[in-house]
Amino acid sequence: MPELHFPWIEAAIIIPLIVSLSLWRVTDSHRQKIITSITSCIVLLLCTGEWIDFARLNIYEAHDHWDLTSWILNREILVVDALSAPLLPLAALLYTAIIATTLRTKTVRFSFRSALLSLSTLLATLSCRDAWMVILLLTLSSLPILHELSIRKRSNRIFLIHTILSILCMIFGQLFIDLSADSSRTHIIGGSLLTIGCLIRAGIFPMHCWITDLCEKSAFGTAILFLLPMTGAYAIMRLVFPIAPSYALQAIAILSLLSSIYAAAMSAVQVDIRRLFAYMFLSHSSLVLVGLELTTPIGLAGGLLVWLSAGIALLGFALALRSIEARTGRLSLQFFHGLQDQIPFLAGMFLITGLAAIGFPGTIGFIGMEMLLEGAVAIYPTVGVIVAITAAINGISIMRAYFLLFTGVNHPSTGSLACKPTERIAILLILLLIIGGGLWPQLGVHSRYLSAKELIQHRAPLSENVTRSHPELTTVSK
């Protein structure tokens, strides 16, 4: 397998892990924040370096230079490929932005140690292709959430039940797959269990309640860090996509489609801003899954592009929301709040990032959404119709939230609610990505298209085995 020019991935995983362990000795939360911010910036640079290095090699997959894990375990565990290459810098950006914008008033609540541990786990998950390792890492990534909920004395029952169910399905599914031949019934049962596990992790309807519950009960920063990398979609791409026959992918696409329109409609009737965000996220992550399961180069490329664009746009949206909440407390959507005059910058960012998430022209989400629609219409015109309606409802939800939060009344405030420089810089950076990606989309489109083609090519021989041995299933699906 080709090599990168530097051990980018290992360095990006090990550095936050070591810093996280050394943070036990630092008691001052402000110092913790500074150390964590610097670490996450270094990780972001390493991940960006990995992406550039990988793109310049022009290959499908590569492993680190001086690959320690393969030398120790005698297996290639950490591998970056066309799918994961841009997801690593996206994950690092997400953590850097959240950590850097955590206000001093929130540093006591927000665990920087957990954040660095989660970053390390997430990067390992995104660069891991071994099924068992992916399942293990997904399990590990849930532990900090459970820990935080118990520290905050909030019930974790809903999250715990969904997590256990998801992990058990994945474990038994993978077990059945490993123990059975490629074409046996057991293999199909294993594949189905694996799919169910991944779908629960992705929060697909009707197993989505844990997402809204998490957004309500945990610190908003923690919820964003857990949700926005869309590890459920990643698990589907790693565990299910390579082995699933077409009919299974179509079933996932239908469920995802249902989930996306349901979540969009639910976001329009929410009276709590965090719940609205949760449903917005769910709607977009489901749209990503719709694209990923289309299995046409344009549709898949659209899905991959929406993954990146929605990730960036929703990050900006969540940052703006988090900054507003840090100043005003939890916000209800039952009343007008009229915050425009107090925080015009955040109001503008809220609107722009929200519009970017729904694929408004001129923003990063536009082309991805167009490609997704194009891919969907080419296969099933009805899917295209539902995706268009979903985007329309999401647009209404965003504008409703904007009007309720920022207009309608004059917000009485004696103190200044203005943005801190770190918040301003982080949001401006994301805005730059949103507008830059919207005005010059060709680079992103081309890279995602190549990834889509490679993924389809690598999937074909594996999925054909199942289809060939069970032709009746293909007929049913047709």
Binding site: I158, V271, P297, G329, F335, G348, P361, G384, T407, G408
Partner: protein, 463 residues
């Protein structure tokens, strides 16, 4: 590239860049927090408008001299995946439909920009108004010149956003904000219909350019590549989109709501330009309409309904802006009928004339009383209203018609009842079910937000 096409390339570039540069300057000033003075903003608006207008006037002059009545300019490929035939062109068409509309856009935007500079003097939202004004102007110009569906959609969306934000311009009151949201919702739904129609056409014909989709003959000639089986479906979606954008029945309820915005925005958006965008779309896709008698009849029917509704309703309005809004609707309905009858040039001229007249009327609306008094002073006595003679046959239905017009046909109530309330009730019901399920799992109240928001002060009373 010939000299002529090169000249048009640069002219097209200037036409698009002039509002774009204005938008970029205003956006960056808002983003980075440096304040531009009112004079600077007004001057910048004037400069870009004059530049754009001069270029827009040069274009038809060159076209007349060279005898060309259709010129297509490709500004570049935004996105291209050649192997999949996926292209995203920024293509502009200069023809007998787009050029007059382009000139109209620049003229009216310049007039309203100059008017607004004085009208909104020292207003708190002065900068905000001009930012959305620039966004709107860019959207209108892109929509007018669009040579591909994608470009039209781009402009269409910009117009929708700026319109909704300007209706909610007086943002410290709930009513304008609610109206802004209503308009945004109607626009989003009609945008979805337009997008679906565009994608279906793209899927069926394999192209996204208007010149390929509606033939390469100069407007209003051309023939569609869409097969007769799909034409009804596409036609219906396009009529739906046009009805939403031009406030035709049953979406007419948003037009008086739009009058909540400042007078200059009401004049330019809802009296003159934005309200005509739907009929402009019908004119642009005229070969699709012409290909089916059913579609043509539908267009005529829609126009007729809108005309009758607008004419009835405008007669009972008690404020001048609403009266003018419904009068606009009557004319939009008439223009739609003309399009349905195939009188495309007539509809174009009607649209331009109506836009100019309505802008003038709306801009004079704030000083109606002053004008009236001035007239009375000039005449030397009170101006008497001429008595209306009521036809005998109309007597029995007169109260009913009056009530119908006063209630604006209950169109908003109708839409609320058949679309919005069932939608909200259904998903609120789903929300309650989810709540019960999570409560059952938790063995108690599962939603923290429930406790927080219940303890909030309801005396704000602005729900």
């Amino acid at each position: 590239m010939t000299v002529l096409s090169q000249t048009f390339f640069y002219l097209a570039l200037i036409v698009v860049i002039s509002p774009l540069s204005l938008l970029a300057i205003f956006a960056s000033s808002m983003l980075f927090g440096y304040r531009l003075s009112e004079t600077t903003q007004a001057k910048l608006t004037k400069i870009t408008n004059i530049t754009g207008l001069l270029v827009a006037l040069v274009i038809p002059t060159i076209m007349m001299i060279t005898g060309k009545n259709r010129i297509v300019v490709e500004l570049g490929r935004w996105v291209a995946i050649d192997k999949e035939h996926f292209h995203f062109h920024l293509k502009l068409i200069f023809d007998q439909l787009s050029v007059p509309f382009l000139v109209l856009c620049f003229v009216l935007c310049a007039v309203v920009g100059t008017f607004a500079a004085s009208y909104l003097h020292r207003d708190k939202g002065y900068s905000r108004f001009f930012f959305y004004y620039a966004l709107f102007q860019l959207g209108m110009i892109l929509s007018a010149l669009a040579g591909t569906i994608e470009t039209l959609f781009l402009g269409w969306e910009l117009v929708g956003l700026s319109s909704a934000m300007l209706v909610a311009y007086f943002q410290s009151r709930p009513a304008p904000v609610r109206n802004g949201l209503r308009i945004w919702s109607v626009y989003r739904i009609s945008d979805a219909a337009f997008l679906i129609a565009a994608l279906t056409m793209h899927h069926l014909t394999g192209v996204g350019d208007f010149e390929l989709m509606t033939g390469t003959e100069p407007w209003p000639g051309g023939s569609t590549l869409v097969d007769s089986g799909s034409i009804i479906q596409i036609g219906l979606l396009l009529i739906f989109a046009a009805a939403g954008k031009s406030a035709m029945v049953p979406f007419s309820g948003w037009l008086p709501r739009a009058m909540e915005g400042p007078t200059p925005s009401s004049a330019i958006f809802y009296g003159a330009l934005s309200v005509h965008l739907g009929v402009f779309l019908l004119l642009r896709i005229n070969p699709i309409l012409a290909a089916s008698l059913t579609i043509q009849l539908m267009v005529i029917g829609l126009g007729l309904l809108t005309t009758v509704f607008g004419a009835l309703t405008s007669r009972v309005q008690t404020d001048v802006k609403n009266g003018l809004a419904y009068a606009s609707l009557t004319q939009v309905g008439l223009i739609t009928i003309e399009i349905g009858l195939g009188l495309y040039y007539f509809a174009l001229v009607h649209m331009i004339g109506h836009a100019c007249l309505r802008t003038l009327q709306l801009l004079r609306a704030p000083s109606t009383l002053r004008d009236h008094q001035w007239l009375e002073n000039a005449v030397g006595s009170h101006l008497s209203n001429s008595e209306m003679r009521e036809a005998r046959w109309a007597k029995p239905i007169h109260p009913r018609l009056y009530r119908f017009a006063m209630h604006r046909g209950n169109l908003d109530v109708f839409l609320d009842r058949i679309c919005i309330r069932p939608f909200i009730s259904l998903f609120q019901w789903f929300d309650r079910i989810e709540h019960r399920i999570t409560n059952a799992i938790e063995g108690g109240e599962s939603r923290i937000s429930q406790n927080i928001h219940h303890s909030e002060d309801p005396s704000k009373g602005n729900r």
